[in-house]
């Protein structure tokens, strides 16, 4: 680097962000981080002011999930930083690249219980890949560069950089160009011996199934994954983070796997003799009781992170490496002799399926699943859907038609309510020309409702499809099924008038409660320029089916017969 003139730590932070390709950051100012915000006043990087720091972290996550680029959020010290924690952990759980920058109190105040002081790196340590406090302005560039490298991978995740106020103010040389970037971490691929062993296992299989997870999204391996399964006519399922990996209309896609997964997916995996687990981590929502999961299957597990192998499920062959490189090797090596085809088994697996069991709703009440069926039928093929967490999330996951995993944005591992709307804001910022819809329930929406102000201020065209069943529906469902119908603190029947609130934020809103109104309302909703809300007042006692109870197996799947309507809502 060459030195031209004096700069400050704050200016340097922004210059490095720009040099790393960051175009937009999501944040909220405060005392300790004021020098950074002052520098931002005249800097070309766009800043989106959310109405809560938690939303800034979720928005950065939505930006990263939908684009593959590093999402950046920032907040001040103390409460600003602690409010980021959930969104950062959300990124950690789903391996989402994120850099979080927090202001810290002045160096001499650290450890004195100063105003808005918190031991942020200790708090953030367990929820990040790394959390580092910059103690000298001379270290700032090195640490920020490293933060981006580590956030990007090989397994992506969040990195926190905590910067004391005096470091942000400190004078440092202004740089006219930056030091050469260190060589990125090389993508690794498994040894050909392991690849050949995996292919050999596949050649001897009778009922093989592939499971694709979020690793395909992280590794940009969607295209080669589709090539891989097509090569063998292999039936496959997806975890919630792998939704969108299937080629549109591919009959061999058996659906989402797991607790609320499709029957064909769950039964086929359970009966498989060989499973190719590709970029997935055997979450308990996928496996149910691990010692009863696919007991007759030999498992080939491909993942970038060796710590995932044998973590939950013992595997026969571990393929450690970048998933795109791994799948490329599998395809290339398999093509060297006639690849096996599993056409008749695939047909058999598909035949295990059928329509999703559904409660629907009694006459006169609107069914949430009818709303979602109608929505997905008319939504643009490249729509980006960001969900909140709960029943609507599972109904949407069961019904989505994403053509790419970056088009279905959801808090999968952490299951953070309040995620949907801010994540949609991030997704829209990364995809300005696309239709982005936040599908929210009434519970989660109220955790980030003020972000409608963010939509309005920046005219961010997110469409809010609000599934309002006046309940914390998923908890209510479990109370019905597993807690003797003791509906403890899940009743939200005193919900506010959501459409009126939206209009208070000057966001066009409709409210419907009759399924007959759905087609026209959806058409208006999707055609509205800028942000819009469609509030759907739905039946309260509709449940998500199928449901494999926690710790149970696919054989214990419940399909609705146990569900009885609770008394009509007030």
């Amino acid at each position: 680097m060459s030195q031209l003139a004096e700069s400050t730590g704050a200016q340097l932070v922004l210059d490095i962000l720009a040099d790393e390709g960051v175009e937009v950051v999501f944040g909220y100012p405060g005392g300790a981080i004021m020098p950074l915000y002052d520098a931002m006043f005249s800097h070309p990087i766009e800043h989106i002011l959310t109405r809560h720091e938690a939303a800034a972290a979720f928005a950065a996550g939505g930006y990263a999930r939908s684009s593959g680029r590093v999402g950046v959020c920032m907040a001040t010290s103390g409460p600003g930083a602690t409010n980021l924690v959930t969104g950062i952990l959300d990124a950690q759980m789903d391996s989402i690249p994120m850099v979080a920058i927090t202001g810290q109190v002045r160096s001499e105040l650290m450890g004195t219980d100063g105003f808005q002081e918190a031991d942020v790196t200790s708090i953030m340590g367990p929820v990040t890949k790394r959390a580092v406090c910059v103690r000298r302005v001379e270290d700032l560039e090195r640490i920020l560069r490293a933060a981006f490298r580590v956030a990007r991978g090989p397994r992506p995740g969040p990195v926190l950089v905590d910067i004391p106020n005096d470091i942000l103010k400190a004078k440092c040389p202004k740089m006219d160009h930056f030091a050469p970037h260190p060589v990125p971490i090389a993508s690794e691929r498994p040894h050909d011996v392991a690849i050949d062993a995996a292919i050999q296992l596949l050649r001897g299989a009778e009922r093989p199934v592939a499971i694709v997870g979020g690793g395909a999204r992280s590794a940009n391996a969607v295209h080669i994954f589709r090539e891989f399964v097509a090569m063998f006519d292999l039936p496959y399922a997806a975890t919630i983070n792998g939704l969108g990996c299937a080629a549109p209309g591919d009959p061999n896609f058996l659906g989402m796997l797991g607790m609320h997964g499709w029957k064909a997916a769950n039964i086929s995996v359970n009966n498989a003799d060989v499973i190719f687990a590709l970029g997935m981590r055997f979450d308990d929502r996928v496996t149910g009781k691990p010692d009863k999961f696919a007991r007759n299957a030999k498992i080939v597990h491909a993942d970038i992170d060796a710590s995932e192998f044998n973590k939950i499920i013992p595997v026969e062959i571990a393929l450690r490496g970048d998933l795109r490189a791994t799948l490329g090797s599998l395809v290339r090596r398999a093509a060297q002799s006639q690849p096996p085809r599993f056409t008749s088994w695939a047909a058999e697996a598909r035949a295990l399926g059928g329509p999703l069991p559904a409660d629907r709703a009694p006459a006169g009440a609107m069914s949430a699943t009818s709303v979602l069926d109608a929505f997905f039928a008319v939504a643009p093929p490249d729509v980006i859907v960001a969900t909140d967490v709960g029943q609507h999330q599972m109904w949407a996951a069961q019904r989505q038609r994403a053509i790419h995993p970056r088009n279905f944005v959801t808090s999968a591992g952490l299951g953070s309510m309040g995620f949907g709307l801010p994540a949609a804001i991030g997704a829209q910022m990364a995809n300005a020309d696309r239709t982005v819809v936040a599908i929210c329930g009434d519970g989660g929406f109220q955790m980030s409702l003020p972000e409608m102000a963010t939509l309005r201020r920046y005219d961010i065209g997110v469409k809010i499809l609000l599934i309002d069943n006046q309940r914390l529906g998923m908890v209510r469902q479990w109370q019905e099924l597993f807690y003797d119908k003791r509906y403890s603190h899940t009743d939200l029947s005193d919900n506010p008038d959501f459409a009126a609130i939206a209009m208070g934020y000057r966001i066009p809103a409709q409210s419907i409660s009759d399924e007959a109104d759905l087609p026209a309302a959806l058409a208006t909703f999707l055609a509205t320029p800028g942000p819009a809300m469609l509030h759907c007042a739905c039946y309260a006692a509709e449940n998500v089916w199928p449901l494999i109870p926690p710790g149970a197996t696919v054989h214990d799947a419940m399909n609705g017969s146990a569900s009885e309507p609770e008394p009509a809502i007030a």
């Binding site: 790196t121 890949k129 490293a146 990195v159 710590s307 044998n310």
Partner: protein, 71 residues
């Protein structure tokens, strides 16, 4: 299980202790010595074999990230 770890940032020990506890393991001895820009730690862990194996794998990941951050 005894592990010898090299780290640039001794505060990583906080993460290691926390992770050890989270995975249902414990440590019976821990010694750290500074050496130039590094810290050499020797830690004896006890716990169920599966948990120790997971701990080993996660510590490897943690140290890799730490090493990269220090580049």
């Amino acid at each position: 299980m005894q592990l010898s770890l090299v780290m640039h940032d001794w505060r990583l020990l906080e993460r290691i202790v926390g992770l050890t506890n989270r995975l249902g393991c414990a440590y019976t001895s821990l010694s750290v010595k500074p050496s130039d820009a590094y810290y050499h730690a020797t830690i004896d862990f006890v716990g169920p074999p599966d948990a120790l194996r997971r701990l080993d794998a996660q510590l490897t990941r943690l140290l890799n990230d730490e090493k990269e951050m220090s580049r």
